[in-house]
C-alpha cells in the first residue's frame, strides 16, 4: 500500500490534535507577543471540536479526517479558523471519495489549499503568516509527486519545508493579520499560524510513517 488510508488519516489527525493541545499555550504566547493573544484559545476550541467531529469509530474515507478538521476550524472563527478550515476543505476535496490518498492527491490538495488561503486572506510569502509554511510545503509535495515519491516521503519533505518556512517568519515583520499592527515588535517571534501548519505536517509525517510503530521498515518496503 503506497497511499494514505482512512486509518492513517485518523492517526495523522489525532497526532496533530495531541501535539496542538500540548503546544497551544506556547503558540498562544507567540500571538500574545505579536498579535492579540487569542490564538491559543482559538486552537484549543478547534481541537476540542475536531475530536468531537472525528468521533471514536473508524472513518469511511481518508477525506473524512480532513473534513472533520475543516468543519471544526471553520466553526472557530478568528482569522486562523476559517483559513485553516478552508485549507483543510481543499485537502478533503482533493482526496475525494478514494480509499487512499497518493502523493499526487496530496499535492493537489496542498496547491488548492494554498490558493484559497491566498485568495481569501490576500497574504503572500514573506507577509509572516501561515502562507509562509503552506507555500513551501505545497512546493515540496509537488516536487515529490513529480519524482514519484511515496506519501511518507512527500509528507516528510513537506514537514521539513513548512517548519523551515515557519522558522523564517521569525526574521520578518508581519504584513498581514493582527501582528502587522505591532511593526518591529513582531520581529524575532515565529508566526503561530505558520508554526501550527508545520506541526500539522510533522504530525502527519510521523504518524503515517510509524503506525504501530514499524514505519522505517514500511518506508523501505514501498
Amino acid at each position: 500500500m503506497s497511499g494514505l488510508d482512512a486509518a492513517g488519516a485518523r492517526r495523522w489527525a489525532e497526532a496533530f490534535l495531541d501535539a496542538a493541545e500540548r503546544d497551544a499555550e506556547a503558540l498562544g504566547d507567540l500571538d500574545r507577543k505579536a498579535g492579540d493573544g487569542d490564538f491559543g484559545t482559538n486552537l484549543v476550541t478547534s481541537v476540542r471540536a475536531s475530536r468531537a467531529r472525528l468521533g471514536d469509530g473508524p472513518l469511511a474515507l481518508p477525506a473524512d479526517a480532513f473534513s472533520a478538521l475543516s468543519a471544526a476550524f471553520m466553526a472557530t472563527g478568528g482569522t486562523s479558523g476559517p483559513l485553516f478550515g478552508m485549507w483543510y476543505r481543499e485537502l478533503a476535496r482533493a482526496a475525494g471519495d478514494g480509499p487512499e490518498i497518493a502523493t499526487d492527491g496530496l499535492a493537489a490538495g496542498l496547491a488548492a489549499g494554498l490558493a484559497v488561503v491566498r485568495r481569501l486572506g490576500g497574504a503572500e510569502v514573506g507577509d509572516k503568516t501561515m502562507v509562509d509554511a503552506m507555500a513551501p510545503a505545497a512546493e515540496a509535495v509537488a516536487a515529490a509527486a513529480e519524482s514519484g515519491a511515496d506519501v511518507v516521503a512527500a509528507l516528510t519533505a513537506a514537514a521539513r519545508a513548512a517548519r523551515a518556512g515557519a522558522e523564517e517568519t521569525a526574521s520578518l515583520v508581519a504584513r498581514r493579520g493582527r501582528a502587522s499592527y505591532v511593526g518591529e515588535v513582531a520581529r524575532g517571534i515565529v508566526d503561530p499560524g505558520a508554526a501550527t501548519l508545520a506541526l500539522f505536517l510533522e504530525s502527519g509525517a510521523a504518524a503515517v510513517a510509524d503506525p504501530n510503530p514499524v514505519g522505517e521498515h514500511r518506508r523501505s518496503e514501498d
Binding site: 492579540d36 472557530t76 482569522t79 476559517p82 481569501l120 505591532v182
Partner: protein
Amino acid sequence: MTRRQFVNDPQDHVREGLAGFELANARLVRWNRDPSYVVRATPARASKVGLLSGGGSGHEPLHTGFVGEGMLDAAVPGAIFSSPTVEQVEAATRAVDAGAGVLHIVKNYTGDKLNFSIAAELVADDGIEVATVVVADDLATDSDDPGLPGRRGTAAVVTVEKVCGAAAERGASLAELKALGERVADGSRSMALALAAPAHPGEGQPSFELLDGEVEFGVGIHGERGIGRTSFASADELAASLTTPVADALDLVAGDEVIAIVNGLGATHPIELNVVFGAAAGVLERRGVEVARALVGPYVTALDMAGCSVTLTRADAEILDLWDAPVRTPGLTW
C-alpha cells in the same frame, strides 16, 4: 500581582456572559444560543433593512449592547478578540432579513472581513441581498502600503451603527445605508493609548508590560502592542497627543463640527475619561472646531485594559439629526 477575573471555565466565558446579558436585558434583546447571535426582543417592522454587526468578544458593550430600536437588529459575538464564525454570521443575517436586505457593519480585521464575506456569499445564493460597510478609523495603523491590512476598525463603529440605525428606522434603502455608513466611516478617525495591558479571562498575566514612565501609544482594541512607547504625561498632554493627530487627519478647520467619542478601554474610571474629554474639547476649541455631540464612557473596551481612545467624526445636519434620533439598546439609550 497576578490579574484575576470573575470566570468559570474560560472556554465558557463568552457564552455565560451572553446568558447573563440576555437575562438582565430580557425586555430589549434575545440571545439565540446556537449559532450564537443576539437579536432584538421585538423585531423591527417588516420592510426595514436589517442591520448586523459583530466581531470578537471582549469589547462589551460593543456590539451586543447596541442591539435594539434605532441601532442594530442583531450582533454576532465571536470568542474573545476573535471573529465570529461564518455559521453565526450566516444565521444572524438570515434572521434579520425582512426582505429589504441586510447591512453588514464590519470592523476592518482580516478575520471579521473573511467570515462576514463568506457568509454574505452563502446567503446571496438564497437571494438575500447584503451590503457591507467596513469601518477603518484607527489612525495608528494608517498606511499607504496596499500590502498591509489598513486601518483597524475601532470606536467609530459605534457612530456608524447609531447613524445607520436611525436611518434604517426611517426607511432608508440598503444602498442608501451603505452610502451613509461609508460617509460616516470615511469621516471618522481614532487614536488610542494604553496605561496598562489587558489580561484574558482566566489568564493571570497582561498581554504586555509597560515601564513606569511609558504609555503604549497607538494601541488597538485587542491588547496588542501599539505603534510605540511614549512618555507618561499629564492628562492634558496625553489627551492632546490623541486628539491632535485625529483632527489633523480629518483636516478639521475652524467652523467644522464633529461628534466626539472619548472611549474607555476597560479599566479607566469615568472621572479620568471626563478629564480627557475636557482636555480634548479644549484642543478642538482652540482650533475653532465645535464638538456638536459627545459620548464619554466605556463603549468599545479591550477587556480590562487601562487607557482610552479619542474618535472624531465629521458631522453635518443630516448626521446630527440621525444621531439625535431615539435609540433604545442595553448600551445606549436616549
